[in-house]
Amino acid sequence: MFDKKELARITREKERWQQTTLPKWLSEHPERQKEFHNTSGARINRLYTPEDIQNMNYTRDIGFPGEYPFTRGIHATMHRGRLWTMRQFSGFGTAEQTNKRFKYLLSEGETGLSIAFDYPTITGYDSDHPKAQGEVGRCGVAISSLKDFEILFDGIPVDKVTTSMTINGPAAVLLAMYIAIGDKQGVPRTMLGGTTQNDMLKEFFAQKLCIFPPKPSVKLVTDIIEYCAKNLPRWNPISISGYHIREAGASAVQELAFTLYDGIAYVESALERGMNVDEFAPRLSFFFASHNDLFEEIAKFRAARRLWARIMRERFKAKKPRSMWMRMHVQTSGCTLTAQQPLNNIIRVTIQSLAAVLGGTQSLHTNSFDEALCLPSEEAVRVALRTQQIIAHESGVANTVDAIGGSYYVEALTNEMEEKATKYIEKIDNMGGVYTAIEKGFFQKEIADSAFKYQQEIDTHKRKIVGVNDYKIANECITIPLLRVDPKVEEDQIKRLQKTRKERDNKKVKQTLDKLHDDAEKNQNLMPTIIDAVKAYATLGEICDVLRGVYGEYKELIII
């Protein structure tokens, strides 16, 4: 990027500086620490100069926004044109309560819905299953049948919003319900916009909410990708997620590498089904976490875009630029929130959001300051949303494209991230791919080790966490208003479910479920039959049970 003469001059000058100005200053002002590291364990230099990026080629490695390799962003004008989507994940209690919260968020200026489901729904159980006891509506909204979904979207026209659903194992069932709602509202399927998370691979080693074993799980994922490519052109069938990998304890590099490897596996699965890469790749989307180390995170987002573009072009021979786009949603990191001095979390969320925006995200969720304690209260949710609005409209960081690109530090970090992630990808390739790596517990071990190391750094005060291991308030009494889910929610939900089971046409339910069983055995794409089953008010648990019967249930591999 620099000519040789100029570089030589910089090297000479740096040496001079290192022999004169620097030691003189250091002799009287020692540095705070002997060494500085980021969360990925990389040593951070005192100073970055053109020397650190001398092997870079501007057009090859950085380029222009909207062009390969998309380091600076996937769109030509980035946030100068359209701001990112401010999408707050929410859902709790019954469908009625969440419907109310959705309407509130839309009225406050939110631009997309994001549904959190409760654990029974996520793990494929109806609200009246014995395992659901005490969990109904606690950490998200309870959905057992289309009846619940009809209430959830009452008065919300699905052609006017985009909806993101954090659902994996039973993703096909929930997507089928959304399609059914669209059909009822008279919205053409081509108009339905939104995302199903539908990323099963990370479940096996990070989030661990699995129903079926890995191979049938990926089969279902691919069913959705295929169905959407043919029928729902505005739907993101999958959101390949690093968020949970990071939350489980991975470093930024591991988050990047493992997420991209999952992406590779899904592309391979769709290709095996005979699809053309440019037919489905443009709709693949990604989901990352944003932590506190501002520059490490920015570098991660930039490296992710560049690396994905290279993988799609070189490994999978994609032709369309859109197939090489890494469109991403970012959420600020839940595990960085502290229960101590909860208001401090607002500052953490701000830093993390800045990283996401400067990193060029398409969509952002900001966590609420009380989430280390409970589900967020309305006030806390508002502050979180306001944080994004302040960054968008007051900070000025969104007024130019890739504001931090060209920083010697950030470019060097971006390169390092890409290199390290590439090494991981090669390692997993050599191991025999994602299934073998899961079976061997490779990801699990890497993540568990990082998590333990991070905790040890905190315990030994190598890493300071304000309010937790330093700057503590003695006998802190945490008083913030807590949002409680009324235990009556469970009762009401179960009543509704049982009423639905009684009133529906049970013959039709049985027919659709039998057909689902047959289709699953014959290895057909299951989306059309699941849509039929859902419309007949077959419940989520019933549908998952049929599939459990065919595919078996996954047993977690425990690596500590």
Binding site: Y119, L209, T338, C374, I458
Partner: protein, 135 residues
């Protein structure tokens, strides 16, 4: 054989949530402190947890939950512990348990609740000091 009595600990995850990062870090720290640790894996019913504690004859049970279902599941677990006569087992809990639930949890027999941000050394120390001498 080694004459020294080993502390045996069961780290259990009741409920459907899958946040096992904390439970695993605790398990690892207790093992590194020389204890024998049995980890149940995710989504264990109260019956499974207590039966495991009984068969493994553990001295300590650590419960981890982040889903909010502790108000339903913990009382059931404590009930079963009493029913099976595991009265000398030390039970502690961690995860997301709001401050205002703590008195109720202590009343049913959970000896200590550790919130997010508790250093592992605090836990190790707590277990060593509070485990009851059996036999």
């Amino acid at each position: 054989m080694n004459q020294e009595r080993k502390i045996r600990v069961l780290i259990a995850k009741p409920g459907l949530d899958s946040h096992d990062r904390g439970a695993k870090i605790v398990a690892r720290a207790l093992r590194d402190a020389g204890m024998e640790v049995i980890y149940t894996g995710l989504r264990q019913t109260p019956e499974q947890i207590v039966e495991t504690a009984l068969q493994e004859d553990v001295d300590v049970i650590g419960l981890s939950i982040l889903s909010g279902a502790h108000t339903t599941l913990f009382p059931r677990i404590m009930e079963l512990i009493k029913e099976k006569g595991l009265n000398d087992v030390l039970v502690f809990a961690g995860g997301i348990i709001p401050e205002e639930d703590v008195p109720e949890m202590k009343k049913i027999g959970i000896k200590e609740i550790f919130g997010p941000g508790t250093p592992t050394e605090t836990l190790v120390k707590y277990v060593k000091e509070n485990v009851k001498k059996k036999i």
